[in-house]
Symmetry: C2
Amino acid sequence: MFAYNLDHVALAVRDLETALDDYDRLFGAKAMYREVVSEQGVEEAMIAVGGSFVQLLQPLHPDTPVGRFIESRGEGMHHIAFAVADIDAALAHLKAEGSRLVDEEPRVGGRGARIAFVHPKAFAGTLVELVESSS
Amino acid sequence: MFAYNLDHVALAVRDLETALDDYDRLFGAKAMYREVVSEQGVEEAMIAVGGSFVQLLQPLHPDTPVGRFIESRGEGMHHIAFAVADIDAALAHLKAEGSRLVDEEPRVGGRGARIAFVHPKAFAGTLVELVESSS
């Protein structure tokens, strides 16, 4: 088993500027980080909430995973991300349990972290991301 | 503006026992609380993750908000809940900003907390719950 924490909750939005303005106006917080992650086809903003983040994801193009998500389901909650100390151990554990994975091996995500997605079929319809922070 | 924290991320599941078993097996944590909240038509389990919770929601009947959610969208992420110190002030702020609310006034939720839901149209398609803890 692996130690973990709640890294972020990701929300897919059509327009990052509008969502950031709304978030600040309604809930009173601004983005701490903002980054284009070309490999994932998104521009993302991280808003600190307690010890975790709300992550806003705007697709760079309609033909990206988040773009297709919005097209089929609309804006809204996209995935939940757990911070793990050792993503290789976490993936090995999930493989041993027979979980369906999106990423068999870690890849590089926002903030230079090593990340991997676990298929929604592995856990009750929810897309789960594992994050091993680079810091 | 109001101080807040991330209270929980709620996932709608068809079967709480299966989801709890899967969660424990895959991510290594058990429920800290479990409660039937008849007013909301759910049985809920709270799994501590860092300083927040993952909340698993099983509808008590198909004809409940969470039951209809699963029927139309399948299992998956349902809402995000922010802990606020003063839910009356938070609701007053959202009303002043013109946000569409599900609950105009707070009602009693799990663990005796005062809660209110904000309509997904208020913030980029995500259903937001405000929670003023009773402790």
